[in-house]
Amino acid sequence: MSAPSLLAAARAQALRDLRLVWRRRGDAAQPLLFALMVVALFPLALGADPQQLARIAPGVLWVAVLLASLLTLDTLYRSDVEDGSLEQMLLAPVPLAWLLAVRVGVHWFTASLPLVVVTPLLAELLFLPADLLPVLMASLLLGTPLLSLMGAVVAALTVGIRRSGMLLALLALPLFLPVLVFGAGSVMAAAQGLPWIGALLLLGAGLALALVLAPLAAAAAIRIALN
């Protein structure tokens, strides 16, 4: 029997996941609506004073994106566990970590990237100064894949637990804290005219590390969780 090639397996995994998202494209809009609503809550609660909103905008936008991507984490493996697909991925000759890396990549592309894309709109709602937008976008582009990768490890740990939504959030949020601190912090620093590139570099370094380690950790966690 012929051994599957890594590239063909990755392409098949990506194609499968994209198809699945496309068949349920209604669900894909939910994180966007959620982030929009979270952002809309702040002017309602604090009053529509542009200066005050502009001051908190970087933090609010980052928290909204972080919470929205947290909510999508539960779906990362749920259906694959329930229908046995994950078992078959586990048994395949192709390393599970490789398949998971593709899986997380597609998840980021379909769940987090749209959030980043609509961020300029959300930023407009909170009167974020236009010169801060590039910094915010850069921090989100580096930070959201990092959130997806770390979230994939935590979600893998809770794979064996039935109603794991709240547990997942409790486990993931502490890990997300540094990303939030550096991500929102870079924009805050830029707003005060301080150097902001360092925080972005740290996010980039974290992303490079997570790209290599997170799929391996997630694969190990799934093996343990399903045991």
């Binding site: 029997m1 599957p4 397996a9 078959q88 048994l91 395949a92 000759p93 399903l226």
Partner: protein, 216 residues
């Protein structure tokens, strides 16, 4: 460590294989061998550990005692994955995808030496359902789709957990036909069943699992 397997080595060999969960034995210790072209029927009541045994052999669970050899070589994950195909209680395909799409994915990650995808679908009686999403297939048809995946993989060892569940008489005959064909090609099958309502039409040895714990 590249000694070639002895030519007369059994396809599957288990020595003192046992599994315990929280120090309570689920099954074992078991000794058995499965030669190429042989089928082994694992019998036992509910809770006797049939599914657990298959999951251990498939590499989904780690045995707590004993060892397993595949073609004379101690089992490692890579070797196991290439050498065996597993059909569990869950079908292992996506409800939102069509039969063809599901099998194409499986072939890409599992590799395959069996017939083409369409031939495998025709063989299990799903010709004409190539693009039907699996959610619109009946339980029996879903089982057939999972059987097509098995056929496609072309692995020498089949681990089948209750393959007769959910199938009509036609389906039972189909499972038997597939097993017969696989065994005729020199493959081996290890299957579980809790009832004797269906048995493959090939020489079968049986392995009976007694409940490891007597009911309190």
């Amino acid at each position: 460590m590249t000694t070639p397997p002895a030519p007369d080595a059994p396809l599957l060999l288990a020595r003192g294989l046992g599994f315990s969960r929280n120090d309570e034995p689920v099954f074992g210790p078991l000794d058995f061998r499965l030669a190429p072209g042989e089928a082994l029927l694992v019998l036992g009541g509910n809770g006797a550990g049939k599914t657990t045994l298959l999951r251990v052999l498939a590499g989904l669970l780690q045995a707590s005692a004993g060892e397993v050899e595949l073609s004379g070589r101690p089992v490692d994950r890579q070797h196991l994955a290439r050498g065996s195909a597993y059909l569990g209680h869950l079908h292992g395909h996506k409800a939102d995808l069509g039969a063809l799409e599901n099998l194409a994915f499986s072939q890409a990650i599992q590799g395959g030496g069996g017939p083409g995808i369409e031939a495998a679908l025709a063989e299990v009686g799903l010709a004409g359902h190539e693009d039907t999403p699996a959610r619109r297939l009946s339980a029996g048809q879903n089982k057939r789709l999972a059987l097509a995946r098995l056929r496609l993989q072309g692995a020498p060892l089949w681990l089948l957990d209750e393959p007769y569940a959910n199938l009509d008489l036609d389906g039972i005959a189909l499972v038997n036909r597939l097993i017969q064909g696989h065994v005729a090609e020199g493959g081996s099958v290890l299957l579980t069943t809790h009832g004797a309502y269906a048995a493959p039409p090939v020489p079968v040895r049986t392995l009976t699992l007694a409940a490891a714990r007597s009911p309190a």
